[in-house]
């Protein structure tokens, strides 16, 4: 199951990053979760149940699509998209949602708590919980609820309770705060299903493990299609779960260049973007020591991105370590660049990407002319853009 150290935290850390900076009340449930996760990892019956759900409910494996007209339009090399947008509920988030819900059932938990930013993790949770018969409460910032209205409706249709969060900046980080407060009260019977490779140990390891299926499939499909690993893999990085999922299969091959794209937002001042590796410093947020956007007093800074899924002030600890090791290049794409990339892919290929995934495409568009034409580039198309229609209409259809 494990194929490299970044899926396995040594004493809860990746290099200096990670840890378990949680209130004492949550240490017992976190330790309980860690034990259950490690046991499930070694249990073939859990693994086969998970694989069956991914195949028969989620629709794995997802396709690898070559986009020649898009490549032509941007004067690029050979470009392949890993089509997580084709996964049930429209994003890679379902991989983790199903894994954690199965684990919650195994632990005897009867209620699920989740946070959501773009709503993709929320929708995946609502679907997984409906399918497995678990009641589900989802915390969502009221700003995000407005810009991702279709996803709120989808969650509610699938029976999830969506709770608006008005505290702080009313976005993803505040939704995580509220979910943690719920869990501190409800942990005896509730599982908190964190949606990204973030938070206290064992979440980063667990989420990365459940998402590693993206990388494994991509590697096998690459070998089938062009008999080698891709030359370059690009993914967007919010918390970083889709990126760590696809990168995980290629970390040990130094010939594979890896690029993570953060949200450049609409400016370079603190508060105008979510580019943790450009402007962030080390700190602790939500139980994890990592790169954080914060002011000089250690107060967490507001962030901005057209994409709710990237609009978060901290980044997963595995990415912090990969940045430190310079194994992955972390770059930015702005709101406008992401919007233009979304339109380009839609026009040339009939694929409407999520605004999050459009950041990965946007950076590829920037560097495409400089890449050797014979290269194979793999982009993780982590989600589809239907949920972004209100935002896209508001911003780009002028």
């Amino acid at each position: 199951m494990k194929n490299n150290y970044l899926l396995e935290a040594a004493e809860c850390r990746y290099g200096a990053f990670g840890g378990r900076f949680m209130p004492e009340i949550l240490m017992a449930p976190i330790n309980e979760l860690e034990k259950a996760f490690q046991a499930s990892n070694r249990d073939p019956s859990f693994q086969s149940a998970f694989t069956a759900l991914l195949k028969n409910y989620a629709g794995r494996p997802t396709a690898l699509t070559e986009v020649t007209r898009f490549s032509e339009a941007i004067q690029g090399p050979r470009i392949f998209l890993k089509r997580e947008d084709l996964l049930h509920t429209g994003a890679h988030k379902l991989n983790n949602a199903l894994g954690q819900c199965l684990l919650a059932q195994r632990m005897g938990k009867t209620r699920i708590i989740a946070e959501t930013g773009a709503g993709q993790h929320g929708v995946a949770m609502a679907a997984a919980c409906a399918h497995l018969g678990l009641p589900c409460v989802i915390y969502m910032g009221s700003v995000d609820m407005e810009r991702q209205a279709p996803n709120v409706m989808r969650m509610r249709l699938m029976g999830a309770e969506v709770v608006p969060v008005n505290n702080g900046t009313a976005t993803l980080k505040d939704a995580v705060n509220e979910a943690l407060r719920d869990w501190a009260e409800s942990f005896p019977h509730s599982h908190y299903c964190l949606g990204s490779a973030l938070g206290p140990h064992p979440y980063p390891e667990m989420v990365a493990t459940f998402q590693s299926v993206i990388g494994k499939e991509s590697r096998d499909q690459s070998i089938d299609l062009f008999s080698k690993n891709p030359d370059l893999v690009i993914a967007c990085v919010g918390g970083g779960s889709n990126a760590i999922g696809i990168f995980s299969a290629f970390l040990n091959d130094p010939n594979v260049r890896l690029i993570g794209v953060e949200a450049g937002g609409h400016g370079s001042q603190l508060g105008e973007h979510a580019a943790r590796f450009q402007a962030g410093t080390r700190g602790v947020l939500h139980g994890c020591y990592t790169y954080v956007l914060q002011d000089q007093h250690g107060q967490i800074a507001p962030t901005s991105s057209i994409s709710a899924g990237l609009d978060y002030p901290a980044v997963g600890p595995q990415h912090a370590q990969l940045f430190e090791e310079r194994r992955v290049e972390y770059v930015v794409a702005s709101d406008d660049e992401a919007g233009a990339a979304l339109k380009m892919l839609a026009r040339t290929e009939g694929i409407l990407p999520a605004l999050e995934s459009a950041h990965a495409l946007a950076y590829l568009i920037k560097i495409a002319p400089s890449l050797p034409k014979e290269q194979y580039v793999l982009v993780n198309l982590s989600g589809r853009g239907d949920k972004d229609l209100p935002q896209i209409m508001k911003t780009y259809e002028k």
């Binding site: 004492e24 240490m27 947020l285 250690g298």
Partner: protein, 293 residues
């Protein structure tokens, strides 16, 4: 040379300890200082000062809002230490800083927080999101600068964990007696008596109890079983509602004074007895007039 550990030890040796929490800088530094002094006059023996943080995951809405107001007013670590310094000129009671980890981490890149906190007059430090697994470096720094590093124990803390915490703990153990977040609640959780008894038999330090304690009866019940009681959200709430020093002092007295029935409740009871008496008189006079007819 100051000796905070000795000071805390002496305090607990002589009485049940009444503890108040205030979010530093809520309403301005001046207001925090005056509120603290009023509480001390009202019987508080030890004060906890909360350092505002933008994402207080362990706090309920009362302290969340106080924190947001304090941050809006520009209260950060330096300002809190100024409040400590001002208080230290007026009182000898132990002052414990309450913080989340990140403001302290951030400060450590520009100044020696532990040294300055100690010099300002703080006696201890509690970091809400720094469990013993992550606290090695902080404990070292606290040790260097005569600050007691206070550990938290909760209803979910196992006896094995407690044994480890007990080994590292200094000053006193803080038992956050219920699940969830801070707030104004009534009564104590069902497992309180059992948990506090287990805790007391294991702990080698005094044990104080906090989290949701906000009335006289509950505080006194806690003091019957523990070495100290912490009241936080209630004071923060009445302060936000505009309570002045006099009212705050009276409230502290009401909650912490160990008479069986505090003054306020006595007055209320007398009032209700008087109403009952009048009601009965009316019935009697009605009955009399019926008989007369």
């Amino acid at each position: 040379m100051k000796n905070s550990l000795e000071k805390i030890k002496t305090l607990f040796a002589h009485q049940k300890v009444c503890i108040a929490y205030l979010t530093a800088g809520d309403g301005g530094a001046e207001r925090t200082i005056n509120a603290a002094l009023a509480l001390i006059e009202g019987g508080v023996h030890l004060l906890e000062l909360g350092i505002p943080f933008s994402d207080p995951i362990a706090d309920g809405s009362v302290i969340q809002q106080a924190t947001a107001r304090a941050l809006q007013g520009g209260t950060h670590l330096k300002q809190v230490l100024e409040i400590v310094q001002a208080l230290r000129k007026k009182t000898d009671i132990p002052l414990i800083l309450f913080s989340y980890y990140n403001p302290i981490l951030a400060a450590s890149t520009s100044f020696d927080f532990f040294k300055e906190a100690s010099e300002a007059g703080a006696d201890g430090l509690l970091i809400v999101d720094c469990p013993f697994e992550e606290s090695y470096a902080v404990q070292q720094k606290c040790g260097e600068h005569q600050l007691a590093f206070i550990h938290v124990v909760t209803p979910s803390t196992s006896m094995e964990r407690l044994a480890i915490i007990n080994k590292h703990a200094q000053g006193f153990l803080y038992y956050a007696c219920r699940k969830g977040t801070t707030g104004v609640r009534s009564g104590l959780p069902d497992d309180f008596s059992q948990k506090i008894a287990a805790l007391k038999s294991e702990a080698s330090l005094p044990v104080v109890v906090g989290f949701g304690i906000s009335d006289h009866a509950t505080a006194q019940q806690v003091l019957g079983a523990a070495d100290g009681v912490v009241v936080g959200s209630l004071f923060v709430k009445v302060l936000a509602e505009g309570a002045d020093a006099k009212k705050l002092k009276a409230l502290a007295k009401t909650i912490f004074t160990s008479t069986n029935v505090p003054l306020v409740e006595m007055v209320e009871e007398l009032r209700s007895l008087e109403n009952q008496r009048r009601h009965h008189l009316k019935i009697i006079s009605n009955l009399k007039s019926q008989q007369d007819n």
